[in-house]
């Protein structure tokens, strides 16, 4: 294992995040605060509580998930797309590093940034609403698992994308709608019958629901299913990445 290479890439990725601290940390914190102002105050004054949880506190896990998903994808996809775009990927491809090491370094870097961001948003949220975390271990597990899974997903998008437009396409057209429709801001019990069924096909629902359960012990779907779905998505991403690296897809061809 070329640990020095893993460390070199990881360090470089983290340095990039600190160099662009406005984009990587400050901007998501500001947008989260705005969500609190708009959703927490404006809508929260009409919906006082859901499942016995104040509306402001109810949306916190969903808000963290929203940032976690979008930032994991954008961090990881950009990290691998940018060297491809400017051509500096030649160095990575000519270095004595295995695909596994490349993945560990890039996905590790992107996931670390997302986890730090998730914790910052959590701290920001605690300034607005009283928070309880009933299952801290599971809360952290979901945080890590989701960050890693979606960083891996972002990595795949970064390799697949041939333009900046394509890079934005999946997060913008798929992830953001799925997150908004995945019960981040409401319980699916509040939806009419047919839409409730449709929502069950949305994978993000399981992430948000499981994550919310780790906070308040209440969820839309059972925690086992939530965890299972997250792991299934992780395995799908791993399978795609394995295929990409075996064939050299859009990297060595």
């Amino acid at each position: 294992m070329n640990l020095r290479a893993v460390w070199a890439i990881y360090k470089m990725e983290m340095a990039r995040a600190f160099r662009t601290v406005l984009q990587s940390i400050v901007s998501p914190v500001i947008s989260t605060s705005l969500y609190f102002v708009v959703f927490g105050s404006a809508i929260g004054s009409r919906i006082t509580e859901i499942d016995g949880i104040s509306y402001g506190a109810f949306i916190v896990p969903g808000l963290i998930m929203l940032s976690l998903l979008t930032q994991s994808i954008s961090n990881a996809s950009f990290a691998i797309y940018f060297p491809k775009f400017v051509g500096s990927i030649y160095e990575l491809l000519s270095a004595p590093v295995s695909y596994l090491e490349i993945i560990i370094a890039y996905v590790g870097g992107a996931a670390t940034k997302s986890i730090i961001l998730g914790l910052i948003i959590l701290a920001t949220a605690s300034l607005f609403v009283p928070l309880t975390i009933e299952h801290p271990f599971w809360m952290l597990s979901f945080l890590v698992l989701t960050s890693v899974t979606f960083s891996l997903f972002g990595f795949i998008i970064g390799i697949w994308a041939k333009s900046f437009e394509q890079l934005q396409l999946v997060p913008l057209l798929i992830i953001t709608p799925l997150t908004f429709l995945g019960g981040s801001f409401y319980s699916i019990d509040m939806l009419p019958g047919i839409w409730r069924t449709v929502t069950l096909f949305n994978p993000v629902l399981y992430l948000v629901s499981g994550f919310r359960w780790s906070f308040y012990g209440k969820s839309d779907v059972s925690i086992g299913i939530s965890l299972g779905m997250t792991v299934v998505f992780l395995l799908i991403c791993i399978a795609i990445v394995a295929w990409i690296f075996r064939t050299g897809y859009r990297l060595r061809n």
């Binding site: 070199a8 890439i9 470089m12 160099r19 051509g87 160095e91 000519s94 060595r252 061809n253």
Partner: protein
């Protein structure tokens, strides 16, 4: 001693069906400077990219110091430094960070003293804290070389190293390449500047349309393929070359005061003596005489044309 790079039966066909390389066989000797010449699109960069692991080959084998680039890719790649043609650097990193990163990427432990030496050798030391984006084109080129040398490679690929580089930097680079060779580093360079190959290389390979059309010791190549020119400065200008000289490959300069005779210096009868005799007989007098060897450039152009 076995060759340091051995390329055997390597082909590359892209997904579009384009055959970039057709059955390449090539051995690079340890410690030599090998110049790979070829017109645009001949397959130079594809071949280098395959050896370095950037592009997958369609078939064939490549070994670097005995290590197979597929099976033993770690050992093979850690011996190679690559300076690609394009200036592709992360623009927002500092010189120091990007060179240290390259060293780490190739699995070498941090060694600030060595990185400092590389930067000093390439006149980049006073720019170590500058971001790559602020460097001039020549400095970026040197930074690319510093990155390639950061992990102490035994084989260095220079893909068009002096394209768009000023004369002074080109001289510096040639000096650096010679120093590296003295340290035992094998150097493979591709170039459009034939004089570069002529001045630097021990051996020359010519690639055209995905095939190696020639590999030869440079001096030998110049000798065997070289044509010589005899230049005659005439006392009084000629309007045309007289009919009687049609058997000679003669050219008359536009102002009519210089005759150029091109001949094969390997020939038993190069025809120089008879030409001079015939000129005297025809009363054409000359005030000066000179001979020139043809350059590698002409040899190269002839080879590629013949192949077309």
């Amino acid at each position: 001693m076995p060759s340091i790079i051995s390329i055997s039966g390597v082909t590359k066909t892209y997904a579009t069906g384009f055959k970039a390389l057709k059955e390449i066989n090539l051995d690079i000797e340890r410690g030599e400077i090998f110049a790979l010449l070829g017109p645009n699109g001949a397959g130079k960069t594809t071949l280098i990219s395959i050896v370095c692991g950037i592009v997958n080959r369609s078939s064939g084998t490549v070994t670097v110091d005995g290590y197979d680039i597929g099976r033993d890719y770690r050992a093979a790649r850690s011996l190679i430094g690559l300076v690609p043609q394009e200036l592709t650097i992360d623009a927002f990193e500092t010189v120091w960070a990007t060179v240290s990163y390259s060293r780490g990427l190739f699995g070498k432990p941090a060694n600030p003293a060595f990185v400092e030496k590389v930067l000093r050798d390439l006149s980049l030391w006073d720019k170590k804290d500058a971001k790559a984006i602020t460097l001039s084109g020549g400095m970026k080129r040197r930074l690319m070389i510093a990155k390639a040398l950061s992990h102490e490679p035994r084989v260095l690929f220079l893909d068009e190293p002096t394209a768009g580089v000023d004369v002074e930097l080109r001289q510096d680079m040639w000096a650096m390449v010679r120093r590296l060779r003295e340290d035992g580093v094998t150097i493979i360079l591709t170039t459009h500047y034939i004089e570069e190959a002529e001045a630097m290389a021990d051996r020359v390979g010519v690639i055209n349309r995905g095939e190696i059309v020639l590999v030869e010791d440079k001096a030998e190549l110049m000798r065997t393929l070289g044509r010589k020119r005899l230049l005659l400065e005439l006392r009084s200008p000629l309007a045309t070359i007289p009919e009687t000289f049609s058997r000679y490959a003669l050219e008359l300069s536009p102002d009519g005061d210089r005759l150029t005779y091109t001949y094969d210096n390997q020939s038993e009868r190069p025809g120089v003596a008879s030409l001079l005799r015939d000129l005297e007989t025809a009363g054409i007098q000359f005030r000066d005489i000179d001979t020139q060897n043809s350059s590698l450039e002409e040899i190269f152009v002839n080879l590629v044309r013949k192949d077309a």
